[in-house]
Point group: C2
Chain length 376, copies 2
């Protein structure tokens, strides 16, 4: 994987760049749709390419490990071959789901023992094991195994957790660097900055992560309930320490405003379930603001979802029709809403990139943050 | 609407024809995907065109009348404008749903009083009212209001019901012929042959229907539980009486084998929820037979769903992947399965048409009936 930093915005820390992987290029800043179990919920791979124009999607190691499982993925020739997505894929380490989905889990130095949320079976995720699993899944970018601390979090817990996350990182790196990809293309490992919302821990972690000299770096443990201002403070602090010539990935963020603000602080990559999860509940993100499409007010609105966007996901169907689909509990409602919301998120980062390249990102961002968060 | 009978198979009663409507042409024999509430469940209008290659879809008057309701449909400019489907649409009369979905309904000479399955509100469907409703929905082909008798059915009940259906038909025709389409294009009314599985009633009804001289005719009240042989017997009897120069529509039929057998008896048009409903439960119809994709046997089968078909719905995703989607209860499973099953049904009637045009329908049908009904 390579990263070219193309432009830095003169008035902020926003950057435009280009990542190259063996599965193709990624223009940054980028938003990555979340494909939990090898599928971006309710959106086909064809729609992801044509309507959404996704450049890279995520897979969740926890989910893929449990189902379809490593045997299927190995025999398929990896996740790209399994689901037919031939562009870049990033997998998380499974840590986050182990903490949030698994009923009982025990965190020890060795790793995390947990029970499957599907059948209650017992499993162990260790730093080494998770590297091996991600070799089998075969994502282009894989993530280190870490502990994502909850918020709020006691300082002592955050400090001890951070130390362990750093020790785990060294084990991840050792395992990763002594193994090879299984399918003939390169994989790269991103380490993750933790430290909750404690400045000294974040600085310490960012310096530790930067010192590993990997091809890209991630910021985890944010957007877990803390106020947005605190998230921005941490992001800025960390971005200032992480190397400028490597892409920076802020995990699990966020609203359209969160994304724009974090781009301004130097983040290059984002993922979040919000556009798809909220779509399934009828919340549509548009260039003019946020619509609850189930509201009566859209019943006779025959305008397209968002005429300012170009693709069929946003311009073909009327608000009235999409509302009707949700009222009638028709699957096509979530399908269309998911495709549209993702198309909007991809549009947002593409526009941000244009503005950065044009040197006009600052004022555009100020205007857009207000506009896209307006309740329609 | 016009119908050109192009070829009659020398060895059977199968026909190839061409229907012209103001929304485009329909090559017969044809299968019409069912778009209950203005959407073919889980399949977008784009996918219906590109992957499925549907030429005409159905709408259900009962569902559309209740939701989104006539105000929305009228203000949208009809169903085509509302859901963005610009090819032909056929609507049923709502009768079937009134009998099957509505908890309490009273059938009188005036019409049928029923309660909405959504909110329990009371409504009346009369022959005149249903014509007016279908004017508002704006389908190219609309159906007469009839009683679809259950099976088995007492002879006396079937006879009395048939007489009422015929009286209702005359009221439908009177109302339809004294009104006009609301949106600037033509609509046509198909009457429906009833008579349960009683030969004399079917003959009487077919003669009555034929005598109306409408642009097309339908056969209702079959595929409601009777043995397939009895259905074929009724279809043949009726097709021999209905005029040859008008399309014949067999309502609610059926399996791939049912469709091939009825084509051989002279039927031109079909609709059925089977390809979409069964898709949502993981049953896939293919050129080689029927697969339950949730079975363990497909877990490591990386072949496409049906390599013999051409479209992405059947060739892009592997059986293993689609099985995984169903195992994981991912919406994409029903989406892909629905698109594939419809693509298969459309392929089946297209192939049948080719064979009829080529004079080879008979032996092809014998082979295909066995092949497509094989359990894989």
């Amino acid at each position: 994987m390579t990263f070219d930093l193309i432009t830095q915005d003169p008035a902020s820390k926003a950057r435009a760049g280009l990542i190259q992987t063996d599965h193709g290029a990624i223009e940054t800043p980028i938003f990555m749709p979340v494909g939990t179990a090898g599928t971006v919920k309710a959106v086909s791979q064809q729609t992801l390419k044509t309507d959404v124009q996704a450049q890279i999607i995520l897979g969740n190691t926890y989910h893929l490990y449990l189902r379809p499982g490593l045997d299927v993925l190995r025999q398929a020739g990896g996740l790209h071959r399994f689901n037919g997505w031939d562009r870049p894929i990033l997998t998380d380490s499974g840590g986050y789901q182990v903490y949030s989905l698994s009923g009982t889990r025990k965190i020890k130095e060795e790793g995390v023992k947990f029970r499957s949320h599907i059948d209650g079976s017992q499993h162990l995720f260790s730093p080494e094991g998770v590297m091996d699993i991600q070799r089998v899944i075969g994502a282009d970018i894989i993530m280190a195994f870490d502990e994502c601390t909850p918020w709020p979090c006691e300082y002592q817990y955050a400090r001890r957790s951070l130390d362990m996350t750093h020790r785990w990182l060294q084990r991840c790196i050792q395992r990763f660097d002594s193994t090879e990809g299984l399918y003939g293309y390169s994989q790269t490992l991103f380490p993750i900055v933790q430290g909750s919302t404690f400045k000294d821990l974040r600085v310490q972690s960012a310096e530790f992560i930067a010192a590993q000299g990997r091809e890209g770096n991630a910021i985890g443990g944010l957007s877990v309930g803390e106020p947005a201002e605190l998230m921005y403070e941490m992001t800025e602090l960390v971005c200032d320490i992480l190397p400028a010539d490597k892409p920076r990935y802020l995990m699990g963020v966020g609203t359209p405003a969160n994304i724009l603000e974090n781009i301004a602080l130097g983040v290059d990559m984002f993922d979040c379930v919000m556009p798809t999860r909220n779509a399934r509940n009828g919340m549509l993100f548009t260039t003019q603001g946020i619509m609850n499409i189930t509201n009566k007010k859209w019943e006779l609105d025959f305008e397209p979802i968002d005429a300012a966007l170009e693709g069929p996901a946003s311009t073909f169907y009327s608000r009235s029709y999409v509302r009707h689909l949700f009222q009638s509990k028709e699957m096509l409602g979530p399908q269309l809403a998911s495709a549209h919301n993702l198309a909007f998120y991809l549009w947002l980062v593409k526009e941000a990139r244009k503005e950065i390249l044009g040197g006009t990102f600052g004022p555009w961002k100020e205007k857009m943050v207000k506009q896209v968060m307006t309740r329609l």
